[in-house]
């Protein structure tokens, strides 16, 4: 009986193991490195921008004033149809200009 079980295992399972044609990976969650600085508007920014991409995109972008960040958010709406309304654009751009604004120290300079 034992031999039959072993044999059927070999016949049934081995071909799949040997000729397995499936590749499967699991990706890690968003890295904490990209976590936004807390402040007025940070939750909305996290929620809206995070719909399509991790926020590590944001924290390493060039610093910008309200106008520059408003331009970035507007691009996300115009080009990628991000679901963000006009009032939210203001809140998000305000937040980004204060948390990642020109007044804050540059963290990334060219070599």
């Amino acid at each position: 009986m034992k031999r039959v079980i072993v044999l059927s295992f070999l016949i049934l399972v081995i071909p799949f193991a040997v000729f397995s044609v499936e590749k499967k990976i699991q990706l890690p969650p968003d890295h904490p490195f990209g976590k936004l600085t807390a402040g007025p508007g940070s939750e909305l920014t996290e929620k809206k921008c995070g719909l399509c991409h991790s926020t590590d995109y944001i924290v390493r972008q060039p610093r910008g004033d309200f106008k520059r960040w408003q331009g970035v958010v507007t691009k996300m709406i115009k080009v990628y149809a991000a679901p963000i309304d006009e009032q939210e654009v203001r809140t998000i751009a305000d937040y980004l200009a204060s948390a990642y604004g020109t007044a804050a120290a540059e963290t990334t300079k060219p070599k």
Binding site: E22, K23, K24, F33, L51, S54, V72, T108
Partner: protein, 405 residues
């Protein structure tokens, strides 16, 4: 295997002192890339499936950068090869039993090819070629530009094997109205409103070029999922925006592709340098295409300390858009005098060309070593970086600092 503590990792990276991290509070197990380079220092070092430790650019979609030390050789290992995606979610599961490469649109006979079909019904072709992201080194632009803030690790060179794209098109039979070939992969945007990542090439460009492949092997192995399993487009000599990964569909178009990724993205100023006055906008643009000449010093690492009285071995790579590298030179006096260095094995005009040199510092002190390459057309690199608003095709003369003590 025991899990190493955070301190073990930091020690291993030369960050033994907590002060090296400033006052940032790090979550446990966050490992950082140690580098003097401000663009890289403090970036997380992460290990993704089928990958070794790479420098994180973004988590979603996954974008990973290759550390400079891997560019001391012509072939970049699969596990160290950079990762760049445009939209999320990216494919994480592919079953070859059901996967098919569809060839449709303006063709006589639409095809649905399995991996077996690709492997048995077409002649095999292999090319060693550099994949470089258009925005490689974007983080070094001054004035800075928006976009992925890559340092110099969004490039790699592999031996790609598969079938010729033109053979597949000929099998399907290209109708004479067809003008462009559109590539689509399995990556899909989070919302239907977000433009799916697709790229196209002219039909004539493909039919004339036997080196353009549908590759299903990279350095003799199947592709890592994050580098395009089960098959990707390879366009030797051209920037990697056309090298669509995780391929699923090839469509012959009667009209030029109007997709966002061709019409609006991946465009450079329409002039010989592909550049404009820093801070200004180009009046006319064209799709980015051929790689510019570049060269790098991978060894020793930037900011290395070496003892006086010994020769220092310098190693690195050079490449261009397919005419081939003819000469690499180094300078230790800010570019006043240049010295020709030895080139390694020639792996074809699309590959990284290894170079090496022994450099003996005349006295103690701080040195800057510059490197530049020439291709067979006489094109080279400039001491002044080019600039364009999208941060594409940087190819300035590179340099490292060496401290002789």
């Amino acid at each position: 295997m025991a899990t190493p503590s955070r301190r073990t990792f930091l020690n291993a990276l030369g960050l033994s002192g907590v002060c090296a991290l400033g006052d940032r509070i790090l979550p446990p197990m966050m490992r950082l890339f140690a580098a003097e380079d401000p663009l890289l220092s403090g970036r997380p070092l992460v290990r993704y499936p089928e990958k070794t430790d790479l420098i994180l650019l973004t988590s979603r979609p996954p974008q990973l950068e290759t550390p400079m030390r891997y560019f001391d050789r012509a072939i970049t290992p699969n596990e160290a090869f950079f990762v760049r995606y445009h939209v999320s979610p990216v494919p994480t599961r592919v079953d070859l039993d059901t996967w098919r490469l569809k060839v449709g649109g303006s063709v006589e006979t639409p095809l649905e090819l399995s991996m077996d079909d690709l492997k048995t019904k077409f002649e095999r072709a292999t090319v060693t070629a550099v994949a470089q992201c258009s925005g490689n080194s974007r983080g070094r632009f001054s004035p800075r530009v928006n976009g992925g803030q890559w340092a110099d690790g969004a490039m790699g060179c592999a031996e790609w094997s598969g079938v010729r794209l033109r053979d597949v098109l000929n099998k399907a039979g290209v109708r004479k109205e067809a003008v462009e070939v559109l590539f689509n992969g399995l990556d899909k945007p989070a919302f239907p409103s977000v433009p799916d990542f697709m790229k196209s090439l002219d039909v004539s460009r493909i039919l004339d070029d036997p080196n353009i492949l549908i590759a299903f092997q990279m350095n003799g192995e199947s592709l890592p999922m994050l580098n395009g399993f089960p098959a990707r487009i390879v366009v030797p000599g051209w920037f990697a925006d056309h090298w669509v990964k995780n391929m699923s569909e090839i469509t012959l178009l009667d009209k030029p592709n109007d997709n966002f990724w061709t019409r609006a993205a991946y465009r450079i100023p329409d002039n010989t340098c592909g550049c404009v006055e820093p801070g200004t906008s180009p009046s006319r643009t064209v799709p980015i295409n051929r790689l510019k000449v570049r060269s790098f010093i991978a060894m020793p690492a930037n900011d290395a300390r070496v003892p006086i009285g010994h020769a220092v071995q310098l190693k690195g790579i050079a490449f261009d858009g397919g005419s081939g590298i003819s000469e690499v030179q180094i300078s230790d006096d800010a570019g006043n005098r240049w010295r020709r260095v030895a080139l390694g094995k020639d792996r074809g005009p699309f590959a990284f060309r290894e170079w090496s040199a022994d450099w003996t510092p005349p006295r103690a002190g701080d040195y800057r070593i510059l490197v530049r390459a020439f291709n067979t057309l006489g094109e080279s690199q400039s001491a002044t970086p080019l600039w364009n608003p999208a941060g594409y095709q940087r190819n300035v003369i590179e340099q490292i600092e060496i401290h002789v003590v």
